[in-house]
């Protein structure tokens, strides 16, 4: 019995430590925006809303959040849609060399997210007349995220029983009907997870939007966040913390919504 109790105490201590580890860094974000003159110190805020007022008056802040939303949702939709189709086909139809192809793409995707790729991507966008176009940016970001998304979704689909599809098939459903009626609802948690993953990835991306969009009205929050420094490079803490909070809220809401509505989890690993 005592061992049991020691175990429980150990468990809750560990959980408490973990929660502290994950919470403490966030405290600043909770306190600083409501403090009139925030420093790096976390202090009890004086609950002012002047910082929010300042952000609301900021010429680009709110617009940039809208742009972020557009880019993130646009990319996520495209990633989820294309990756789901591809992952499904790859999971269900034998194709020679599909695994090698996936791994190769996964590796190439790592180079494309690096800094060195900015010149090719920029010039590509110029050639395709996609410069200063949010659509172009969405396509480029999608290209970078697709391989990992396909990889993860394929795992997910592999672990979904085939009998549902076969059953629908015997009833005469066409492949597209099968995908629409059966597969998509079944793998919805996986799609949701990949969607949130894509959103989170795009949401934080700074360099690509900055380089590929020239119109400030189209720039996402990540770029605007970086403007909140002064000429000498000092952070404007009141604005930065407040914008940081506003800039974080949509992703968090999106996560909460998705996890509540569709579930949020991964399945599977590489099948043997």
């Amino acid at each position: 019995m005592t061992r049991h109790i020691v175990g429980r105490i150990g468990f809750y201590t560990l959980i408490a430590l973990l929660m502290a580890f994950f919470t403490v860094p966030l405290l600043w974000l909770a306190a600083a925006p409501f403090t009139s003159d925030p420093t790096y110190e976390v202090s009890l805020p004086d609950f002012t809303f002047t910082n929010f007022q300042a952000i609301l008056e900021h010429p680009y802040a709110l617009g940039s959040l809208y742009n972020s939303l557009l880019l993130a949702v646009g990319t996520a939709v495209l990633v989820v849609l294309l990756a789901a189709l591809a992952a499904y086909a790859l999971s269900r139809v034998r194709m020679p060399g599909r695994d090698a192809l996936l791994y190769a793409l996964l590796l190439l995707s790592s180079i494309i997210t690096g800094t060195a790729a900015m010149v090719p991507l920029f010039q590509l966008a110029v050639e395709l007349n996609l410069i200063d176009s949010q659509l172009g940016l969405i396509l480029i970001l999608t290209g970078g995220l697709l391989p990992a998304a396909i990889f993860m979704l394929k795992d997910f689909m592999d672990s979904t029983p085939k009998s549902y599809e076969e059953s629908a098939r015997v009833f005469g459903a066409s492949p597209l009907q099968i995908v629409g009626h059966v597969v998509v609802p079944l793998v919805r948690p996986g799609l949701a997870t990949i969607g949130v993953w894509a959103i989170a990835n795009v949401w934080g991306n700074f360099l690509m939007p900055y380089l590929l969009l020239s119109d400030i009205e189209k720039q996402p929050g990540a770029v605007i966040m970086f403007t909140l420094y002064t000429e000498g490079g000092q952070a404007n803490l009141p604005l930065l913390s407040t914008f940081g909070l506003l800039y974080s809220v949509p992703v968090v809401l999106m996560y909460l919504f998705v996890s509540k509505k569709y579930g949020f989890r991964f399945h599977g690993g590489i099948k043997r």
Partner: protein
């Protein structure tokens, strides 16, 4: 284009400035004053001109990258602000062209040139051709905290004449309990700030020039002296805070600490006065700036041992306004650029935040109210030096920063200098281009 009349001239102008963020005042000036006035003036001339401001608010490297990518693809704004030291590399890459080539010979006859000092004009010149208009200039001094000085028994009108006097003052401050007596930028984290507010003024003070007569200065005695001073300050004497030099946000921190009365002596440019400790809108406001903050010229290592035999030295830089060679309307673009540098425009721009403009006529009027800027324009600018506008300079500068970082973290100055020379030879194409 289809949305506007065929004879409407559309111009764009870009700066690393943005309303509500970085350099907001400059952005506002362009958007709220320059553009309407310029459009009105053109209208009066019978031209229908529409100007658009393209803001930006990022690190200089990122801004530069974006400009380079834009210009390489023959895109970008018609009027572009760049840093003075980028002129060389942009010109070499063909991203910018001499003004007379782009906008015609009349650029040489712009009325402003006559008001701009020779040295400042030099900023715009590469291979004897003018590539841009200068936007302004600045200078570096030693700031000190008079309150702390008083505590340490130092004079309020302190003006050291040698490095030793600076060290002595530092020691007194230390004895008086000042946490960080002297702060001179070093290390790589601060980037170009280390060069401009650190190693380059010191190099000049020791009589060295980074680039002279076609050769880059290597592990020369002046460099060793400069690095030696770093060692004196950061090498365990407790005069400086070596940590501050390494932090990613170390410069911000040094500002805050100075404002907090924790730093005795700080080498900085006039931006520090205007933008940091400015009692109205600085990032580290000091309400009593004018009473507490003192400034002095940067002394040579010993009197008369500075460059050109000077007793005192400084470094200056400045931004440029250039015309995109791919502009559809280069002449109007030049007019716009010139307009922004007209006396009225400059006066308007500096109404809120005074700074040193390129024009002496304007400076005379606007600087009177500001003791530091007066000091700089009268005492510092005449003996200041500029960085070479060469394409390879940024890398050389980075190597210099590296050398200071090594000294701060404990390497011997001679060794750091030797390492620097080795790296330099690799950068500038062999030992033949290096003088030691």
């Amino acid at each position: 284009q289809s949305s506007s009349d065929a004879d409407t001239i559309e111009l764009t102008i870009t700066q690393n400035a943005i309303a509500g963020g970085k350099n907001a005042a400059a952005a506002d000036h362009i958007a709220k004053w320059v553009i309407p006035k310029f459009e009105a003036a053109q209208k009066a001339k019978g031209k229908d001109v529409k100007v658009k401001f393209v803001p930006s608010g990022v690190d200089d490297e990122q801004y530069k990258t974006k400009l380079a990518l834009d210009l390489k693809s023959k895109k970008g704004a018609d009027v572009i602000d760049i840093d003075g030291i980028w002129a060389g590399e942009f010109a070499e890459a063909g991203y910018i062209k001499p003004l007379s080539e782009v906008a015609g010979a009349e650029t040489d006859s712009w009325e402003g040139w006559s008001q701009i000092p020779e040295a400042v004009q030099g900023l715009t010149t590469y291979n004897d051709k003018k590539y841009a208009l200068p936007i302004g200039t600045d200078g570096r001094v030693l700031y000190f905290n008079k309150t702390l000085f008083q505590k340490a028994g130092l004079p309020a009108d302190w003006q050291p004449k040698s490095w030793q006097e600076v060290i002595d003052a530092g020691n007194k401050l230390k004895t008086a309990g000042v946490p960080t007596p002297i702060q001179i930028n070093a290390g790589t984290a601060m980037g170009e700030a280390t060069s401009m507010q650190g190693v380059l003024p010191l190099l000049a003070g020791a009589g060295g020039e980074i680039f002279k007569d076609g050769k880059w200065s290597g592990a020369s005695q002046p460099l060793k002296d400069a690095l030696g001073l770093y060692q004196q300050i950061y090498g365990g004497s407790g005069l400086g805070d070596p940590k501050l030099q390494q932090e990613a946000k170390g410069r911000d921190k040094s500002f805050a600490e100075f404002a907090d009365g924790k730093i005795g002596i700080l080498m900085e440019g006039d931006y520090f006065w205007r933008g940091v400790v400015n009692p109205t809108d600085g990032v580290a406001k000091m309400a009593d700036r004018d009473q507490v903050v003192g400034f002095a010229m940067i002394p040579a290592i010993q009197p008369g041992k500075g460059i050109r035999g000077q007793d005192f030295v400084s470094m200056s830089g400045g931004a440029l306004r250039t015309i995109n060679p791919n502009s559809k309307h280069p002449k109007e673009a030049f007019e716009l650029a010139a307009f922004t540098l007209s006396p009225e425009a400059l006066k308007e721009e500096t109404k809120q935040n005074v700074r040193i403009t390129p024009r002496t006529d304007v400076n005379k009027e606007i600087l009177t109210g500001d003791p530091l800027l007066m000091f700089i324009s009268e005492k510092v600018l005449p003996l200041t030096a500029y960085r070479p506008p060469l394409a390879v300079y940024p890398q050389v500068s980075a190597a210099l920063q590296e050398a200071t970082a090594q000294v701060v973290s404990g390497k011997a100055p001679d060794q750091a200098a030797a390492d620097y020379q080795a790296k330099l030879e690799g950068l500038v194409g062999g030992a033949g281009n290096v003088a030691s």
